[in-house]
Amino acid sequence: MQEGSKPPIIEFRGVTKVYGTGHAAVHALAGVDLAIAEGEFVAIMGPSGSGKSTAMNLIGCLDKPSAGDYLFKGVSLGQLSRDQRTMLRRHFLGFVFQGFNLLPRTTAVENVELPLIYRGLPQAERRAMAMTALRRVGLEGREHHTSAELSGGQQQRVAIARAIVTDPVVLLADEPTGNLDTKTSREIMELVSSLNREQGITVIMVTHENDIAAYAGRIVRFVDGKVESDAPDREAA
């Protein structure tokens, strides 16, 4: 899209990730260069073992690279400490997982409030923000249902509300429709695209389904720990 005109929000410079040591060492990422600009909607694809999940974990600051540099908003994260990476997640990133990962026996609104608790916001403010986020994902009237009382699609909506309630710069979605049927998947993807379009949230999504990847404006394919192709998606809406 507007590559080059804006400084990339996320930039990998020769990022390498090695698991294990010696002969057992596995190069999950082997020198990846990647730049993602603010406001982009990027789908990361590739067969299993290609390094796409590792790349996602690194982008999400859940892990640190073995070598190379990761720049966030132009700032090198270098070897940030565990707590520093947590703070980065807390303030800039939102996560949506394949398995929803909501707290069991906990109501939708309480789940959405969770990241705000760690930001130290007072109860009343948290509740109001959580309600707004739930409205945004179309879950009015379901605020006080627990996960067990919600369908898969509704649970994923709660998870998305939880990810956006902090107003993150980047939304990271790891196979967000992996556990959902086609119709529900389409609804969830419409929601994610609208967040990207209307609120300008940068979305980075891992998927292995072409029709899901088609919602993105750009598709990055990983093979054997390297970027195989990186192209704007012609069929994107």
Binding site: L62, T86, G120, A163
Partner: protein
């Protein structure tokens, strides 16, 4: 932040009600058992020591025959009134010497009757047993000498025969002897062995011998030494005197025994205290088992909650915040369980001491120790497994099923 952590912890406890209940149960049972056992033990000790105090001070108990394994006491010659006189006149340092001849008879008043122990004795008995009257009077010298049929009733006998009435001045029948009630004994309650001390009738020894027993045997002699006298010396003096009077050869084993009730009291106290310690030890085991229960549940629960920890870490919880939450959870559960255990233990002890008719004695150190131990176990086993998990990579924790 602390308030927030407490609120998070309470939420988590409420959401996992069953698991929280099981954790608390271990603490409640452990703490409750220790407190109940020790409190009951303390009460029993207090009761025994009170009973022993009621036996009379510096009491020596003289009986024919020996006690103990392989020693028959039945064929030993009983004492007689001359033995009692000899002890009175020849052993120094005595306050009172009471002969006691005892047998069970039916006592009758009107339509009521009761089988009870009838003691033939004299006024020294009130001294040796440290027993006062709540009504009437002791025996008169004339009654003792002449053998007039008068009697003093224990509370149980009075209650059985007279109900609410005042028996002093009435005549009851003991076997077939009509007997005027002249006094009432102060109630003593149960002995440490559970016998009813108030189920007794006292009569002058002479009338007992003549009209009831038909012999002049004296079954036992209760001797009360003066406070400034060494009871061991009194015991030795009585032993020497009785050996002489019973014509015993040197080297022959005594065919009577003199028992110092103070020694007996000390032995009994030691036994009761050992029992209390034993109860405490059994209870300590249950506390330990409770502790292991807490440990298991905490370990299982942390493993089960690995994903939850992963979620919290991924969405921006610091390791320290997750730890604080688990620590507060453990503290809240332990405190709650400990308090419930204290209430349960004291409640059980209260019921049991009521049932056993022993005093309710609060043992604060034990309460604190039991509570402290359970709290420690709860916190340690709540905290350390959580620390391990909180240190995991969020990715690892999230992958955990």
């Amino acid at each position: 932040m602390l308030f927030e952590a407490v609120k998070l912890a309470l939420q988590a406890i409420q959401r996992n009600a069953l698991r929280s209940f099981l954790t608390v149960l271990g603490i409640v049972i452990g703490v409750g058992a220790v407190i109940a056992m020790v409190t009951i033990g303390r009460g029993t000790t207090a009761k025994v020591s009170a009973d022993l105090a009621q036996l009379g001070s510096n009491l020596l108990f003289v009986r024919p025959g020996q006690f103990g394994p392989g020693r028959a006491s039945t064929d030993a010659k009983p004492f007689n009134t001359r033995d009692v006189e000899a002890i009175r006149s020849q052993v120094p340092g005595l306050r009172a010497v009471a002969p006691v001849a005892q047998k069970s008879f039916t006592v009758i008043y009107g339509a009521e009757n009761r089988q009870t122990a009838v003691n033939g004795t004299d006024n020294d008995y009130f001294v040796t047993q440290d027993w006062t009257l709540t009504g009437g009077r002791q025996f008169l010298d004339g009654e003792i000498r002449s053998g007039r049929a008068v009697c003093v009733l224990g509370e149980t006998v009075r209650d059985k025969l007279f109900g609410r009435g005042d028996p002093v001045g009435r005549n009851i029948r003991v076997k077939n002897v009509s007997c005027e009630v002249i006094g009432l004994l102060r109630p003593k309650g149960q002995s440490s062995t559970g016998a009813d001390l108030d189920d007794v009738v006292l009569m002058p020894l002479r009338v007992y011998h003549r009209r009831l027993a038909g012999n002049t045997d004296i079954g036992s002699i209760n001797v009360s030494a003066r406070d400034d006298v060494d009871t061991a010396k009194v015991q030795a003096d009585i032993e020497r005197l009785l050996r002489e009077r019973r014509n015993m050869l040197a080297g022959q084993i005594d065919d009577f025994s003199v028992r110092d009730m103070k020694q007996l009291a000390e032995t009994t106290m030691a036994t009761t205290q050992m029992l209390t310690a034993l109860l405490g030890a059994v209870a300590a085991v249950s506390l330990l088992v409770g502790g292991i229960g807490i440990m298991n549940i905490m370990l299982v629960s942390v493993t089960e909650r690995t994903r939850e920890i992963g979620i919290r870490l991924a969405i921006g919880a610091l390791e320290s915040q997750v730890l604080a939450q688990f620590l507060v959870e453990a503290v809240v559960l332990s405190l709650f369980g400990g308090l419930a255990g204290i209430l349960l233990g004291l409640g059980l002890a209260w019921l049991a001491t009521g049932g056993l008719r022993v005093p309710f004695v609060l043992d604060t150190p034990i309460i604190l120790i039991a509570f402290g131990f359970s709290a420690l176990v709860g916190v340690v086993f709540g905290y350390f497994p959580a620390r391990r998990v909180a240190h995991l990579d969020p990715i690892e924790a999230l992958r955990h099923e």
